[in-house]
């Protein structure tokens, strides 16, 4: 029985996704959990993996097409397996600016016209093996077996004729003009003249659309999603923000002391890890903040899953989630926050890594902001804003002292709780951060 490939729901509020690119062609062998396509949604770009091993039997939806979650995209099965009768793709959903692209093979060999997709018939084990070994696109092989099946001999003949130049070579072999040349002319200057200092690299140019005044710019899917989400959140929850100031001396000292040790364990110890840890302490103390408002009741969440907003520059932002943050050490949190942030920037997050958050932290201080009033990430109760850590003059025991200070703000859903609880929450955070290393 063939297995369906379904467009997953890649986020709680995500209803559709765009097929960026199929990574496999019809007839390709796929392993279970092997990436088979790239999918772009308004929240995350990810790879969809095969839910079964076999052969990609059928691609129903072409690259560049946007479809609703749950749409049947294709089939995986055994070579030659028949698809259930009457199946087909759902109708693609056209999105403004993202009209469905015409179907095209995912890859085409240089110098050859894209081969039309055809039913390859049964692919025997040895044909699959030979095709993989010799990088043969079976769609280009003429089958001479029963019912036009591609036989072992057909593949061998194809490979032979390719050797003799009658068939296009596989894509892996670059065209001659793309092969790097030899000699000094082709070597980087700094290798040729090691003594000479090369100019320090300028910041890489920002990719993306050039913004020309007086024109309009189509929204990318992420921007559209953010717009929709922000309006909905403001419309849904009455936002109230409260702000505390925290002395980060002990955290900073702890970080200085432990940074090298954490680095040895492969973790970059950032302040964010401390804020996640302190949020956990405060959420444990005030579980009402770790909840959702649901019409006539509060849903108090069992898990503490903390989203950490990661800016992707002009494109937007994304909120990967540290799951079960309450069960993790500072080292584990640091490691996970680094990992999620890195992969968020390279768009390598898995769908479930942006889901299931129960509370969110936005570290707007990285861009210099002192304090802000962030918008709640629905359907959560609150969002913590972390400002820039600055050395400020402050009064300690009636003396003037210079301390690394930081404003933290909690924006909360006033339907769920009131200012006093929110303040207790922030007070607990302040206490945790300012007393870091004292009790724990």
């Amino acid at each position: 029985m063939p297995t369906q490939i379904i467009m997953p729901q890649l986020g709680e509020s995500v209803v559709e996704g765009t097929i960026g690119k199929w990574l496999k062609k019809e007839g390709d062998l796929v392993k279970e959990f092997e990436p088979i396509m790239e999918v772009t949604t308004d929240k995350v770009d990810t790879e969809i993996t095969a839910s079964a091993a076999g052969v990609l039997l059928k691609i129903l939806i072409a690259d560049g097409t946007t479809v609703t979650a749950g749409t049947l995209l294709g089939w995986i099965g055994q070579p030659g397996e028949a698809l259930p009768a009457g199946v087909g793709g759902a109708h693609p959903v056209a999105v403004g600016g993202h009209a469905p692209a015409p179907a095209a093979p995912a890859t085409s060999l240089p110098g050859s016209a894209p081969a039309p997709q055809r039913d390859l018939g049964f692919i025997s084990p040895v044909v699959a093996k030979l095709a993989a070994e010799h990088k043969v696109d079976l769609a280009q092989v003429t089958g001479t077996g029963g019912s036009g099946r591609i036989t072992k001999k057909d593949v061998q003949a194809f490979v032979e004729s390719r050797k003799s130049g009658l068939q296009p070579r596989p894509q892996e072999e670059p065209a001659p003009w793309e092969t790097p040349g030899d000699g000094d002319l082709f070597r980087p200057a700094e290798l040729q003249m090691p003594g000479r200092q090369t100019a320090s690299a300028a910041p890489p140019p920002q990719p993306g659309t050039e913004l020309i005044p007086g024109t309009t710019v189509a929204l990318n899917p992420m921007r559209k999603a953010i717009a929709e989400h922000m309006v909905r959140s403001k419309h849904t929850a009455p936002h109230v923000t409260t702000v505390f100031e925290v002395d980060m001396s002990r955290v900073a000292a702890h970080r200085e002391t432990n940074k090298a040790m954490f680095a040895r364990d492969g973790a970059n110890l950032t302040f964010t890890a401390y804020f996640v840890a302190a949020s956990v302490a405060a959420l444990k103390a005030y579980p009402v903040i770790n909840s959702s408002f649901a019409d006539d009741r509060l849903l108090l969440k069992k898990e503490i899953n903390i989203g950490v907003a990661v800016s992707l520059g002009d494109e937007g932002l994304i909120v990967p989630v540290v799951k079960r943050a309450d069960e993790k050490s500072l080292l584990a949190l640091a490691r996970e926050v680094n990992d999620l942030a890195n992969r968020a920037r390279s768009k390598r997050l898995k769908p479930d890594e942006v889901q299931g958050g129960t509370f969110t932290i936005t570290n707007h201080g990285v861009s210099g902001s002192l304090f802000a009033t962030p918008i709640i990430n629905q359907p959560q109760c609150g969002i913590l804003g972390v400002g820039a850590i600055q050395k400020r003059v402050t009064v300690v025991n009636d003396a003037i002292a210079i301390r690394p200070m930081c404003y933290i703000s909690l924006t909360f859903d006033h339907r769920i709780t009131d200012g006093a609880t929110a303040d207790y929450f922030l007070a607990k955070m302040k206490e945790t951060l300012e007393g870091w290393g004292q009790s724990s």
Binding site: P125, V126, V127, G145, G146, T151, K152
Partner: protein
């Protein structure tokens, strides 16, 4: 090299082994002055006397039991079962005693005995004189099961069987006794047990068979060659222990396997071969592993038209080869 029939080669093997080793003796129904119903032992009674070529009662259990006892006392018996169909009274002796003796005694007692039995149909023998019994015995570890397909192998394999320190069931394709002729090397030689042979090289598909079916397969392969299909033929020769390497190497080369036997299909020895190929050569297969065997009926029919319907023959084999080649 003189050309001999299969049965002449077998007789020569027994003669040479009896001359070489006076522990070797023959027992079975009518093996003495009569020379056996197929004349396999013709002349041996006259040459070696009644002490070494012994007519037995019509009791297969006894023939094998006596052989086991003699072997344990240091003799090298060759027990003849007149038709493989009659072997079942001795089934218990063969399985429970013969095959297990070495294992049961922790290697202290071995049974160096050969049981010869003509087997197979196509001779108008009906239900009691046509059976293929190899599947029953190839299931039994401790036993060796040998089936020759040509005179040279028959002689060399039988000599190896006589010299083997453990029991060998030597099944002879009786239809081939006088039908299959071939050159037999002069002088002393043996063919080792446990080695299959590629009897015809080919590229398009592998056909695996033994006994008379192997003989038919060579004929069918010749026919297919004229049609442009290159068939490789593998002669199993020893069913137990099986030479998997030769078999698998051939199938890996051609990507297609057809197994032919005249025993009926279900539970036949071909099922084991098919399973081994599917398991160990899966990624080299270009087609399903096919079996051509007799239909699942209780015996080889006596009626000639029905016997023809039952028996695989070169035409049926060629047809199966063509189908597999075209897959």
């Amino acid at each position: 090299m003189p050309e001999l029939t299969l049965i002449e080669a077998l007789r020569q093997a027994m003669d040479e082994e009896m001359a070489r080793d006076d522990r070797v003796f023959i027992t079975g129904e009518d093996v003495g002055p009569r020379g056996g119903v197929f004349r396999a032992t013709l002349g041996l009674y006259e040459k070696y006397g009644a002490q070494r070529v012994i007519d037995s009662p019509l009791a297969e259990l006894s023939i094998v039991g006596v052989g086991i006892g003699a072997a344990l006392y240091g003799m090298r018996p060759i027990c003849e079962i007149q038709f493989a169909d009659f072997i079942f009274p001795a089934f218990n002796q063969i399985l429970n005693e013969d095959a297990r003796m070495y294992y049961r005694s922790g290697g202290e007692w071995a049974v160096p005995m050969v049981i010869r039995a003509p087997y197979g149909g196509g001779v108008g023998g009906g239900l009691y004189h046509s059976a293929s019994v190899e599947a029953f015995f190839a299931h039994m570890p401790g036993l060796k099961v040998v089936i020759p397909s040509n005179p040279a192998d028959a002689k060399g394999l039988l000599k190896s069987s006589v010299r083997d320190p453990n029991p060998v069931l030597f099944l002879e394709p009786k239809k081939g006794y006088r039908l299959i002729k071939g050159n037999v090397p002069e002088g002393e030689y043996t063919v080792p047990l446990g080695q299959a042979a590629v009897s015809r090289e080919g590229a398009d598909l592998t056909v695996i068979a033994y006994g008379i079916m192997h003989y038919y397969c060579l004929q069918a392969a010749e026919k297919l060659a004229a049609e442009g299909v290159s068939v490789e033929v593998v002669d199993v020769r020893t069913l137990l222990p099986l030479d998997k390497d030769t078999l698998l190497a051939s199938v890996r080369k051609t990507g297609k396997a057809l197994i032919v036997h005249e025993d009926n299909l279900t539970g036949g020895y071909g099922g084991e071969l098919a399973a081994i190929i599917a398991d160990e050569a899966f990624t080299d297969l270009d087609a399903p592993v096919k079996r051509l065997a007799a239909p699942d009926v209780p015996g080889v029919p006596f009626s000639h038209p029905l016997q023809d319907w039952f028996m695989p023959n070169p035409e049926k084999i060629a047809h199966a080869m063509r189908e597999l080649a075209a897959y």
